[in-house]
């Protein structure tokens, strides 16, 4: 993969949920890298484990889920490498990273703000907690100072009348403004890595265009690396430079955005792209489909997770062995026996 020093390097990440009915392997050996200043898109259908992966990166997986293996190597500003996976989820170290160095933009801005605290207060709280990010001398950040920072941030993310909006409650804001406020909160402590979990799923398409443009602009301005999680291939194509395609808790394919959309190797990626109606193709004809449906989480197929629905099976071992993620062309990796064979043959 890319040779530069990544800011985040995830290796063989596993998250399991211990339920009464049995164990669900929500994330089952995920690996990827994030380079500084890069936007990595994680795409997949529901149940593919993309949101759990995101939570695992910050040690936020809730009961009954738990990290069951793998490493999350995070390179701090001073060059030291920290394995987030080995930290105590309630400990001091992870708390110093959360919000300050790695921040989160959650999916539902409505539910992600407390309804009984003003939006401004909730951001001020983050600022005061990580005052070091604004006052490297280690001094405290006064409430008034923090508030004025929030007003500036609101202006930065395009919220009109920021002075008034700081004192609003989240339910008094429109969907678009709420998401902008969320972005302001995520950026408040100048994080080096931003994790955006389906940040535009709950909002309309014209508002989505505004929010995406804002994120791109901020990313250019601050050079923050972003992990962008979505199920929308269109959003991924327009946002990411590197794409990770997930299915049933595993990475199917990974590579530069152009290769994924124009030279996809994995049968799943290819089928997914084909099955999407677009604004350009022929209309009112049958779309190519992926047969069957997602299996129940307790009913994971043996072998390659995609094999029961795959139309390009490499052979009987697809149903017995799990193909690992291997580089098949420079910079592009796939977990599929078809390409493993091709790569070995050449």
């Amino acid at each position: 993969m890319t040779p530069a020093a990544p800011i985040l390097s995830v290796r063989d990440l596993r998250v399991v949920f211990d339920l009464d009915e049995g164990q669900v392997r929500a994330v089952d050996g995920v690996s990827f890298d994030v380079q500084p200043g890069q936007i990595v898109g994680i795409v997949g259908e529901s149940g593919c484990g993309k949101s759990v992966t995101m939570k695992a990166l910050l040690q936020l997986v809730d009961e009954p889920g738990r990290l069951a293996g793998g490493s999350i190597a995070y390179r701090r500003a001073n060059g030291t490498i920290l394995d987030i996976a080995s930290l105590d989820p309630r400990g001091r170290e992870i708390r110093q990273i959360r919000g300050a160095e790695i921040a989160l933009i959650p999916q539902e801005p409505m539910a992600s703000f407390s309804p009984v605290h003003t939006v401004g207060d909730q951001i001020v709280e983050a600022l005061q907690l990580h005052a070091r990010q604004w006052r490297p001398d280690g001094g405290r950040l006064s409430r008034a100072d923090a508030r004025s920072i929030v007003v500036d941030l609101f202006r930065d993310v395009g919220i009109s009348m920021p002075e008034q909006r700081v004192d609003a409650y989240s339910w008094q804001l429109s969907g678009g403004l709420r998401q902008r406020a969320m972005i302001a909160m995520a950026l408040s402590c100048k994080p080096r890595l931003l994790i955006a979990d389906e940040p535009t799923t709950a909002i309309d398409v014209t508002t989505q265009a505004q929010v995406l443009a804002l994120l791109r602009e901020l990313q250019r301005k601050y050079g923050t690396a972003i992990i962008f999680i979505t199920h929308d291939l269109g959003v991924i194509a327009q946002m990411a430079s590197e794409v990770v395609v997930m299915y049933l808790g595993r990475v199917m394919e990974q590579g530069p955005v152009d290769s994924i959309f124009h030279a996809a190797r994995h049968p799943y990626t290819r089928a997914l792209l084909r099955s999407m109606p677009s604004l350009r193709g022929t209309t009112r004809v049958a779309l190519p489909t992926i047969a069957g449906s997602l299996p129940h989480p307790f009913n994971r197929p043996a072998g390659c997770p995609f094999n029961p629905r795959c139309e390009e099976r490499a052979g009987p071992r697809c149903a017995t062995h799990v193909p690992e993620l291997r580089e098949v062309v420079a910079g592009q990796a796939a977990s599929c026996f078809l390409h493993h064979d091709a790569a070995e043959a050449s």
Binding site: G176, V205, M276, T283
Partner: protein
């Protein structure tokens, strides 16, 4: 206002299956302990269109634009505040659905059916799939159980499911399967008009294509007429013959699918098309055309509802509400400057 002639009749030879005229649905806003009405949400505000027999008409717009309320009025799940909805029955009569009582509606229910967005909420969890799918048959007079069994089995096969599925309960089938069952139920009474309200938006991409294909195929095989309500422009484009675009309770543009997408005549349609992210990294991301937010239907702006966000708005747009008017054969638009503007399409 608009007349039938202006409604973009693609197949003018045959009379329309449904003619909606000046439909309005206002919801009162009440406040205080005495629940005084202090205003109205103009959810549907003067909507007119025709649906020809056998066509698929798409209805798109952002949330709160009134597309769902429009479809619920046609289904008479709600009673419209004003307007007509003339439906041509099987025996050739024209019936206005708007004023019909519960009792008079019942014989028409079988002819106009609905496919729901949420495949989890639209099936009764306490009833087997047989009871769910067979219920319209039962209440429409098919009392014989084995006869119903046969019909339900046939319907399940029609939507691509095994007949044994009918003994299951909804909790035991996947989302895509449930949506097929919802379709089977909608088709059980041999309807002529099917209103599909966001039928694929709750489904995953891989399952969405299956259901879209099924809908297309059923429409062709059974000669169904579709009113297809959705927010996803690609999906609407894929399935519809004609498309109507709604904004703040009004139709702003209605045209055959190809011309609407290739050459939109309303600035909002064009902006909406531009806002859809293209699943191709080689297509450069366009500038964001629309600033600000959708106004509240409780308090719409003066003149053209779109003028506060429109880059082409002038004094006239602020003052005068534009009528919905013909601009090309079968292409109607609600804009003062439609002829003058050169707007970008999707292709």
């Amino acid at each position: 206002m608009t007349t039938g002639a202006a409604m973009g009749e693609a197949r003018a030879a045959s009379p329309a299956l449904l003619r909606v005229r000046n439909l309005r649905k206002f919801f009162p806003i009440s406040k205080g302990i005495f629940r005084r009405t202090v205003g109205h949400v103009r959810a549907v505000d003067d909507v007119s269109f025709d649906i020809q027999e056998g066509e698929a008409l798409g209805l798109v717009g952002e949330s709160g634009c009134g597309k769902t309320t429009t479809s619920r009025c046609i289904l008479r799940a709600m009673t419209p505040t004003a307007g007509e909805m003339l439906y041509r029955t099987r025996d050739g009569r024209d019936v206005d659905l708007a004023p019909l009582s519960r009792r008079d509606l019942r014989p028409l229910r079988a002819e106009i059916q609905m496919i729901f967005q949420d495949p989890f909420g639209s099936l009764n969890p306490r009833m087997t799939l047989f009871d769910n799918v067979g219920e319209p048959l039962l209440v429409n007079g098919m009392r014989n159980r084995s006869e119903r069994m046969d019909r339900v089995a046939e319907l399940l096969r029609l939507v691509g499911l095994r007949a044994e599925f009918m003994h299951r309960f909804p909790h035991a089938v996947s989302g895509g399967q449930r949506q097929r069952i919802g379709i089977a139920r909608a088709l059980s009474t041999n309807p002529r008009l099917v209103v599909a309200d966001e039928p694929v938006s709750a489904l995953d991409v891989s399952v969405q294509a299956q259901v879209l294909n099924l809908l297309l195929e059923l429409q062709q095989r059974l000669g169904l007429t579709f009113l297809f309500v959705a927010h996803d422009l690609s999906v609407v484009r894929h399935i519809s013959d004609r498309v109507a675009v709604m904004y703040v309770g009004q139709i702003v543009e209605l045209a055959p699918t190809s011309s609407l997408f290739a050459r939109p005549r309303h600035p909002y349609t064009s902006a909406l098309l531009k806002a859809v992210p293209v699943a191709d990294p080689r297509v450069p991301t366009g500038d964001v055309l629309l600033k600000g937010e959708v106004p509240s239907p409780a308090n719409p702006p003066s003149g053209c509802y779109f003028h506060p966000r429109c880059p082409f708005a002038d004094e006239r747009c602020r003052r005068e509400t534009p009528p919905l008017r013909d601009i090309a054969p079968g292409h109607v638009v609600r804009c003062h400057h439609a002829e003058r503007l050169e707007l970008a399409g999707a292709a």
